[in-house]
Symmetry: C2
Subunit: 357 residues, 2 copies
Amino acid sequence: MRAEPQDFGRVLSSMCTTPHPAAREAAEQFLATNPGDPDTYQAVADLEAQAITQLAEITGLASPHGYVASGGTEANIQAVRAARNLATTAEPNVVVPDSGHFSFQKAAGVLNVELRTAPTTDEYRVDLDAVSALADEDTVLIAGVAGTTEYGRVDPLGELSRIARDVDALFHVDAAWGGFVLPFTDYEWRFDQVPIDTMTIDPHKMGQAAVPAGGFLTSMPDVLDALAIDTPYLESTDQATLTGTRSGAGIASAVAAMEELWRTGYRDQFQRSMQNTEWLADAFADRGFDTVSPTLPLLAIDLPDGLFSRLREEGWRISRTGAGELRIVCMPHVTREQLSAFMADVDALRARPRTNS
Amino acid sequence: MRAEPQDFGRVLSSMCTTPHPAAREAAEQFLATNPGDPDTYQAVADLEAQAITQLAEITGLASPHGYVASGGTEANIQAVRAARNLATTAEPNVVVPDSGHFSFQKAAGVLNVELRTAPTTDEYRVDLDAVSALADEDTVLIAGVAGTTEYGRVDPLGELSRIARDVDALFHVDAAWGGFVLPFTDYEWRFDQVPIDTMTIDPHKMGQAAVPAGGFLTSMPDVLDALAIDTPYLESTDQATLTGTRSGAGIASAVAAMEELWRTGYRDQFQRSMQNTEWLADAFADRGFDTVSPTLPLLAIDLPDGLFSRLREEGWRISRTGAGELRIVCMPHVTREQLSAFMADVDALRARPRTNS
């Protein structure tokens, strides 16, 4: 290839990461498989069942149903699609925190469903009164986020679930990023802790699998039936996924990563990531910057736009929240040395005003 | 991994194949990238632009727009989605040959669009009079297939395009499987031969890229705009894809395969595959079986159900058309030796009646 492969040395914005070596090896072995055709590619179909069993253990799901999706966007679309298909209303709506991932906007547009977004409180968690006010008899799904993309916050899931039950809507939890760190916190987010119908949890984020390996889980067999379409010419009889051909590499790498890292490896990684996040928060606070107190390994910092742009010019892969804060995701590839180098660049750029050229 | 990696020795039904060695190597290099976040993963974003340029050359597209999708299903859904979004009708319908891939059923269900299927003639190509009768002012898209999944046939694309123009609908060509063999035939299927608005063409099928690497192309910049949603917190500003996170491995392998194989390598492969198909058709005809005369490297054979089942029990990965015929896809991994072994099993099973046990 002419281009250099990806260098993660300055990537601080991604929710993906370098795959665990065991995950990489498994992905390479299964590059030529298509789990979208399970009767032809049986080895990877068996691995997918294993991945769902592993994800069910992590999420406390007693009777697991689901599949390995391309990622959180697909899983969120599928949750909305299933809820729409299972409902009888002609004018379905979904209620989602405005901290929800933009894939809910995509889902609503694709699926012709009205999107109602509820504001968050000053704790960056969804406002329950607003959710109650938005939900009605045409609400087919209410979503909560367990680890928001911008601030790493966890919505009050128990209360959201109750509101969903009150209006007879499905309750969906988006734990795409949070699912592999929440087991090591006090949050209640699992199927056996909160009545949850569907969940997004992505092995290719904090789970250290290779891209693409997302997870769509449900406690209701009806959900997969509501998504299934007939598949003539495949020996398998139906297909519930959004895409057709899918990545066997992603599935194999998810299984390998979870075998290797659940539970101790993920716990150790969470602790390292959380310590790095707190170190970074202190480093910014010491320099007089406001930060959003981190509860998961993700930090938002109020940084001047000019400084942000100059850091990007230095090659740092960083991004901003909708409100303009710098956000840094302490993924497994992000080391203390990397963060120290980043802070050194922050200091150097602050000491050296930009010259007009 | 505990499971054995996929063995292609008996896979005769798949439209995927073993990746070219250069494609495999590129995929392995880019396993850790996410082209869904192009401003972070710039190397793979550049490769995606290169892939679209290469696909545009193969398909005769002067001003290329598009992206590397997860596969044909996503690309077909996106074609319907764009047509729906660009139209003003409240009751959109699409007209698709009943030989169209089942992803059109999926698209219609996901997108709340009425699906109208037109029958095929005894040549297994869509009946133009039926298409004309089905199309009306609410038709937003008409599709033609350039290499059908079940019989490998090519619809009369020029005539279909004219019908689409007459009702002011977009014209979509599904060349997911056919796109990398059609350049070596007399069919007119390219953007510079027929007025085409959108096209599906999958590098991970006859293009010998690693899964997942599909292609969605369009001659109209409006199409991608109609699919785009805003992406807060990514430094890129919008996203037109159906999934969010995507496979960098698929993109890198598609570029590597096309660099290596376009045009001579694909031509040689087409000739080998076509010769194998014709050999197989003769072999079945010699034994008194009816076959559907192949025009591309795909053969359908009228085989008794019992024999089909016993061949599957012998480990052959084969599948059936909706009408029940055995279908064999002569992908690059399918060799003459493999087909000889298959015919030897056909002979052995016919000579040995099944015993009840």
